[in-house]
Subunit: 427 residues, 2 copies
Amino acid sequence: MKYEKLSKSELQSELDSVIKAYDEKKALGLKINMARGCPCSEQLDLSRGMLTDDLLSDSVISKERIDIRNYGCPQGLLELRELFAPLLDTKPENMIVGGSSSLNLMYNIVSDAMLFGFPESNKPWGKYDKIKFICPCPGYDRHFAICEALGIEMIPVRMLHDGPDMDEVERLVSSDETVKGMWCVPKYSNPLGITFDRSVVKRIASLSPAAKDFKVFWDNAYCIHDLYDEGDSLSNIFPEAEKAGNANMVLMFASTAKVTFPGGGVSFIVASDDNISYIKKRLSYEIICFDKINQMRHVRFFKTPERVLEQMKKHASIIRPKFELVYRTFANELGERGIAEWTEPNGGYFISLDVMPGTAQRTWALASEAGVTLTNVGATFPYRNDPDNKNIRIAPTYVSLDQLERALEVLCLCARRAALEKLISNN
Amino acid sequence: MKYEKLSKSELQSELDSVIKAYDEKKALGLKINMARGCPCSEQLDLSRGMLTDDLLSDSVISKERIDIRNYGCPQGLLELRELFAPLLDTKPENMIVGGSSSLNLMYNIVSDAMLFGFPESNKPWGKYDKIKFICPCPGYDRHFAICEALGIEMIPVRMLHDGPDMDEVERLVSSDETVKGMWCVPKYSNPLGITFDRSVVKRIASLSPAAKDFKVFWDNAYCIHDLYDEGDSLSNIFPEAEKAGNANMVLMFASTAKVTFPGGGVSFIVASDDNISYIKKRLSYEIICFDKINQMRHVRFFKTPERVLEQMKKHASIIRPKFELVYRTFANELGERGIAEWTEPNGGYFISLDVMPGTAQRTWALASEAGVTLTNVGATFPYRNDPDNKNIRIAPTYVSLDQLERALEVLCLCARRAALEKLISNN
């Protein structure tokens, strides 16, 4: 029963029954937070051994003969880089291990670029009247927040089914020397959950930027975060970039925030030899070294890349039912009525829901009133501005299946009510 | 036998015998690194329980009901702030817990000030042609490196026996709006090991800066790092600053780098309510949260502030003999001959040695040739420029007592040889 086919009186009677159902849900006094992409505690339990096993009494000396308890080794333990290199499709020498936050590495690199530029820059980015970043959207709110904090103008570019609208990206990048960067979450993108197609990766790697210090911030946050045995495949951007003479254009980031512990894992920069040297030099002013004890805990806990992937399968088996519950519920409750579209990712942490244009804010507010907190509408767009007022990021992992079921019932009622109100007022 | 009393031929015969002794030491093929202020492994063993005890299997929920394994709590665990507040003479609400590096917090705050200024700034510090920091010296090389990295002009100010030359500091700060900051290691300063007198602390707290956004970077790195039961006493700068209307002028930093693990501890910012809110806001763009698991390990390992202080006494009993060996050796080998002065700190990690003016570089090079690596001469001054070529920072903690004894024998021979060479060539 598509809502668009209903008469005004049918819409009104449907609205009456939706309001009745909504009020019943609201009376339950729910308190469910689905705003952020956090793992649930069952997932965190998978890394319990990192907290309780005796991983470090055997030896505190690294294979390079470094005492992990003391200063030193600013690039990060070799054995940790060796452990993650195959998972990140790179070599240990092209990696720097950071602290617990890859976002912090990204902030620092962009903020350093504002102050110093990159080696190939004419001047620091902060010395321009205005520089710009390309922001494929819907995208990750914390990327946009970094731009906003640093006064970098954000140019929204539409995400298509296979990645950013590359015609638009190529046009922008090749014509404007003040376009200095581009955010990408290339696999299971936040919030769409799509993976950039091989052809898109190649076009990004082969860009001919007007700015010789243009950088792609390749936030590979969900590189091994598949929901199914057969996950999406992301092609490696670095060899393509090298072929195109763009080896220094790409900076990749990753972390174990959603492998082990959010805020308690380890983070990585992957980059060309030149960029690794440059970033190491900059870091030498900023920190003596990162936490090698936590690095070694990761090494001893996982031992092999295969064991990391085994853990990822366990993560998947916990959260896959949640994703599938969302897909099923949306199909039954919203798809049937023709009032929403959504993605059905094979991995990552998010589902992107587009409700009827013009009704996302109302849907969000209704849900909030009924005790279901969703990611703020607009958060997935630069300047928090969703031009169509339709996108809602769904973060299904943190809550239990039961809570998720209840939250989705509420959300769907809210989306239906908002749609009905709009259709009636448009009539 | 003061060298200055010797005749030229006596100097020459003394030099011959020193060279002979030096060559014998050199033939031993020593390899001793005393360049950095690192704890020795016996000290690191004091925190072994943090690596091997079962500290976290009991509960991973904080007293504020936060799961320490997940995102959240950007200010840091309340129980950790409560544990360290009495040791830092502050309240938990005036603290932010950072990652493993207080240097990184300092860099970030200065670098953010370059980009944004502080709330009371007319404009970002980076928008001035030039800003300046007061650098009491000899001082800490990594403070100076932050200035150098960020293009901040360093104004050297002499350290007197009770702290920086405050007449000079007051003159500089009150007359020049571009003087924006001042580095201080107020207790057991690096490298002198002196503690600022109460009157100096009060004068710093009561400065009347021309710049309303002038900040004192109060790096309290050695706040509880006493060598003796009766340590130096540093007066609390915050109440004084508040009295003088300067509550927002002081930013204090500390860490457990030399309480638990260098590069593996936790760091702290202590500041006024206004500054804490401001820094929290800035951090919200830069990181989701710091590593709360490591924070909780510190809480569970120490339990009480008293236990932290007990651990510091154990540190002291390991390193005190090393400091005292330096004092004794310098007195016997250098003091006797009237060719050096040095400090005898009651805590911290360093001793400051002034060899005969003009001979520090030569002393360093001779030591290096004989396998003893000392902190680079000049490192303790802005732009690595020791105007008198006399200061050498001694870091006695890392090496064993045996190694230290051998290194000191070499160092004293080198200082004597350099002094003799100079006296002879001056004659």
